[in-house]
Amino acid sequence: MLQRSKTRTQQLSLGRRLLRDRVLLLFALPGTALIVAFHYLPLLGNVIAFKDYQPFLGIGGSDWVGWENFAVIFNGDPAFLRALKNTLILTSLQSVFVFPAPILLALLLNSLFSERIKRIAQSILYLPHFMSWVIVVALFQQMLGGSGLLNNYLRSHDLATLDIIGNSELFHVLLTSQIIWKDTGWATILFLAALSQIDSQLYEATSVDGASRMKQLWHVTLPGLRGIIILLFILRLGDSLTVGFEQIILQQAAVGRDISEVLDTYVYNNGVIAGAWGVAAAVGLVKGIVGVILVLAANKVAHIFGEQGVYSR
């Protein structure tokens, strides 16, 4: 079927093909128009990356400054390199620990036999997603901080206290755990949806062949999830330079910049706070370009391995 439509496609001129696809074009129109209007149109405003933008002067009235706004990231400032290093560490930690967590949890939930336990567990675990970072950070401090519930208990029972919050050595681990705590349950639902798409006849068929649970996991479940996992991973790569702004800026004072400065906080501390809109736009552009490169490359790699990726060849 696919083959046939492809050959036919090649025969028709573009105009005829568009005419043929008019219904699909109509389907795609409202969504595309909204993205263009509210995303690409304002993106034109990113010319302020090349200006000393002042809101009262307007985009047209602000002075051109060439590449000056980009200096903040390309000047080799050790503070920038430090931020880049922390970003890369955190993004690796997130890829290795945060990204797979909901997959594992979804598999775990999926393998439960009691529908009730499955639903109850899932309904509990998704709750933290609805807390803003302000609250999450405050809750962590109130539970685990130096004067939090845990340490107050330990102290009043003459036990050694645990230095968790505000401990710069544990900071990256703390950040990662906070994200896992907050979002794992929530992210699970997408994988559960994908799991529900798997035809249960496949399980029955393999079990007739006497396949063990591990084999079923390997031959039925994971292949069913593979597409969506790869897709999400590629999209995550596009966002690699974003590792969480609010979460970090809220906790920066406690551990210091050496360990906590990431690209977004760096831009904030060195641009946004001084009203330098141009700097923020410049860094946004660079991050976008890096994202595009990563997504395109990852998609290529996926194709090499015979996967769909985000879009086909």
Partner: protein, 540 residues
């Protein structure tokens, strides 16, 4: 765009021309001047004429605020005419509390509209988000009539020149006397409203009420047998903190290391000091490392709550309120706030420490920052400048007047109940009155706490004690472009380092190189600009 007859007949000709053409026609007028210190100094500031109808119980002076033990009986109605022109007036502001009910559901707001004779349309944002909101409104070219401009706004002179009315003609010298309550704002506050050689706004004065010193829970100290603590030096101060700490019971004396206080003990400048035309910042001044070392020592000694660097400001307030901490460093405004938030019962009692010298003798307390914000009027406003100034005048009616009582407390019965002559707010009052009127303009604050005359008494006493030793920020009223553009970034860098040093993350020896870096990446430039501004003005 309709131009009312009144606008043309009034003094607002320039404003009308702007409204019609969108650009200022009158080239060469005051608003065309550069923002140099010399032209700014040439501006004749509004004449100060104290409003004499109200006698405080404990009078203040240049520095000390007037104190009232009771709200004056039969408050005078000081303004007879409605200041508004019948047309809606728009205003953009941050608000420090929760969002109040919208106008159609808020009897206080409706009453304000009624009394003003103009509907007040207020566009609000929380403190943190206000800069974004203001920036988008500026960029969108749709600024409201009245604009709250926080001092941290970037490039204020350029912004005001492009978007705000020049008020010099109306306010300079005796011109202000037409607006008696604006004239009741001391001259020093107007200094911060002068840019581009013209008066561009109305001040929201703070000064002494923002002076920040250690607040302590007098009741908790008394329970330990400590009355009227007055440590004579840092050692005694630290010992006092140690006495109020009982980590095993999860009690720590301090909510945070009181670095500004230690700096005042050492006698460091209040931001900037001027001596013979030379400016010195408190970062570079001699003794700044010692201050940090002392702060670090306090943290190390365990007299500061271990979560001090990660907790939110509200958590710190809670520690103080709940008695987990017995010391906090904050202002006179916060002192009142603590009474408002008190859950400890009638015994709850707060007082403030004087500043001793670090090694004995007397320390040098810092005067609080002069302005909360400058309020500007949009050039595009359809209202006459007189109307807007009359509104500001109304908002500045001082403590003791009927207008003040209404402005801060609302309507009797609904928003407050009278206890003798003291207004006690109701829940509705608290919810409905927080619409941000105090940022249009305000009188200098008065020391007062409904039903607790001992609070203003104590506040007045400590103010009198520190008044003649107060150290002022020498940079106030002097414009430095670098400070305006880059000050926030530079300051945050230093503040972060201060915290890292005090928490023990970094050695005190990191401070000196950081100061050097601060100087080379902007500090030196700021100094130069301030010195230049100072010399240009001191001759006048």
């Amino acid at each position: 765009m309709p131009v009312s007859r009144r606008t043309f007949l009034g003094g607002g000709l320039a404003a009308a021309a702007v409204a019609v053409t969108g650009t200022p026609l009158l080239a060469g007028c005051a608003s065309d001047k550069k923002n140099s210190a010399a032209v700014n100094a040439a501006v004749k500031l509004p004449t100060y004429q104290k409003y004499g109808a109200i006698k405080p119980d404990l009078p203040g002076n240049d520095a000390v605020l007037d104190a009232f033990l009771k709200y004056p009986a039969n408050p005078v109605k000081a303004i007879t005419d409605k200041p508004g022109d019948g047309q809606p007036i728009s205003f953009i502001t941050n608000i420090p509390g929760a969002i109040p009910p919208a106008a159609d559901n808020n009897q206080f707001w409706q009453a304000v509209n009624e009394r003003l004779g103009s509907e007040l349309q207020i566009s609000m944002a929380s403190n943190d988000e206000y800069p974004d909101k203001l920036a988008t409104r500026i960029a969108g070219g749709d600024l409201p009539d009245i604009i709250n401009i926080p001092p941290t706004t970037v490039q204020i002179p350029g912004l005001l020149k492009a978007k705000a009315m020049d008020l010099t003609e109306q306010l300079s010298g005796d011109g202000v006397l037409k607006y008696p309550f604006l004239a009741n704002i001391p001259t020093v506050y107007w200094k911060g409203c002068v840019f581009n050689g013209a008066i561009y706004g109305v001040p929201v004065p703070r000064g002494m009420s923002r002076t920040t010193l250690p607040l302590y829970r007098a009741d908790l100290l008394a329970a330990k047998g400590i009355k009227d603590p007055a440590p004579k030096n840092f050692e005694e101060f630290l010992a006092l903190a140690q006495e109020m700490t009982a980590a095993k019971e999860n009690k720590w004396a301090w909510t945070k290391p009181p670095l500004p206080y230690i700096r005042q003990m050492i006698g460091l400048p209040n931001q900037w000091k001027e001596e013979g035309g030379k400016f010195t910042s408190f970062y570079e001044a001699e003794g700044s490392s010692e201050a940090l070392e002392a702060g670090r020592k306090m943290v190390e000694a365990g007299v500061v709550n271990p979560d001090t660097f990660s907790a939110k400001a509200s958590a710190r307030k809670q520690w103080f309120n709940g008695g987990i901490a017995s010391f906090d460093i904050d202002s006179f405004v916060a002192w009142n706030q603590y009474y408002a938030d008190n859950t400890a019962g009638d015994a709850f009692s707060v007082n403030m420490l004087d500043v001793p010298g670090f090694d004995g003798g007397q320390g040098k307390p810092w005067m609080g920052s002069a302005l909360n914000n400058v309020t500007a009027f949009s050039k595009d406003s359809k209202h006459s400048v007189e109307t807007l100034l009359k509104i500001a005048n109304w908002m500045a009616a001082p403590f003791g007047t009927e207008e003040y009582l209404f402005r801060k407390y609302g309507l009797e019965g609904r928003h407050y109940t009278l206890n003798g002559t003291d207004p006690t707010p109701t829940k509705t009052g608290v919810v409905e009155t927080g619409i941000g009127l105090q940022y249009i303009s305000d009188s200098a604050l008065a020391l007062y706490w409904a039903g607790k005359p001992d609070v203003p008494q104590r506040q007045h006493a400590i103010q009198e004690k520190i008044a003649d030793r107060l150290v002022y920020d020498a940079s106030y009223g002097l414009y430095s472009e670098t400070l305006s553009k880059d000050g926030a970034r530079l300051t945050k860098q230093m503040t972060d380092l201060e915290n890292e040093i005090m928490s023990g993350n970094k050695p005190v020896s990191d401070w000196a190189p950081a100061v050097k870096n601060w100087l080379s990446s902007g500090g030196e430039k700021i100094r130069g600009e301030l010195q230049q501004a100072f010399t240009a003005t001191s001759g006048k």
